[in-house]
Symmetry: C2
Subunit: 191 residues, 2 copies
């Protein structure tokens, strides 16, 4: 049952990607190691050859998902200025993002779980959030660096909160209204 080194690396990567999807979809406690491994096409017992614990996998999966997200944001940021900010905000604050937590920002889906978990997962989230905030910071209008920084943090918080709220409320109209309100505050920071 041994497989090639290449296959081992592929299997490990597949576990991380499967976990990144399933943890975001179901929450950290919503998916077990056995089901997760099954989704990755492997058996339960094989897991502990790759990772020390379920929590370690969460940290890697979170790092992986957020790294991809930051790369995407950096791609949009290449446009520069208002267009980039509108693109990032439009994608993030969309019904599409709201309806696909399994592919979306890990901070919104796993932030509360991770704040109760260990150092590794919290560090992965912190690195990812810092990456996203750094992209926003460069795109903020204005001259003063401290102002841009503050605006970036406040904007990021609003984006994260909006997606979480939009997913939690049971009123579709309100959900869309929240997304739109933050999208608009982003395009038009002067209220």
């Amino acid at each position: 049952m041994k497989v090639s080194r290449e296959q081992v690396a592929l299997n490990r990567q597949r576990i991380v990607e499967t976990a990144a999807r399933l943890f975001r979809e179901k929450g950290y406690d919503g998916i077990g190691v056995a089901d997760l491994m099954k989704s990755a096409g492997l058996t339960h017992g094989g897991f502990y050859g790759h990772f020390d614990s379920k929590e370690d996998l969460l940290a890697e999966a979170t790092a992986h998902a957020l790294k991809k997200s930051v790369e995407r944001w950096e791609g949009y940021a290449a446009k520069g200025g208002d267009a980039a900010l509108t693109t990032i905000g439009g994608n993030y604050l969309s019904a599409e993002h709201r309806d696909h937590p399994e592919l979306g920002c890990s901070v919104t889906t796993l932030g509360a779980d991770i704040s109760r978990l260990g150092a590794k997962a919290r560090h992965a989230l912190t690195e990812g959030a810092c990456g996203q905030m750094a992209v926003l910071e460069k795109l903020m209008p204005g001259e003063d660096a401290a102002d841009k920084r503050k605006q970036a943090l406040a904007t990021y918080a609003a984006m994260v909160g909006a997606i979480m709220l939009a997913r939690a409320v049971d009123d579709e109209a309100l959900s869309l209204e929240i997304l739109q309100a933050v999208r608009q505050s982003l395009a038009d920071p002067l209220g």
Copy 2:
């Protein structure tokens, strides 16, 4: 082992209050019915005389916690205008609130869990969030009602996101910076 009707009502209330605290502290999956009942001074089996399921208790606990929060906000709102907004924002966006999730806003602690759960819990959260947003709406500066509404939703999203982020990141300076950035954007909406 039967108790008086009065005591039954007290026991039920005690379960709800204990649950409101423990669910916020540990997350929905982080505390079991048996431990929860133990915390409330009762035994496991007695639970199902009071509630149909753990999820029903979550809905009641969330409704209870958010109702209290809305009442507190309405108290601050009696001051009116900027002072009220500053008080609400100052309390919400504090290290104290960040460090005491068990007493804090249920949306930040349970929003992600509840978005994956049933109709009752989502409705309780929605009612609570609407109550908080309604308070903010009245306090927003400006004349245009639609603008005030949008500002209230965007502000609320930023507050919720800020607390979740402030709890999740592993960097105390960054955590405080996020809280301060949103507090400032609240006091000074023109950036």
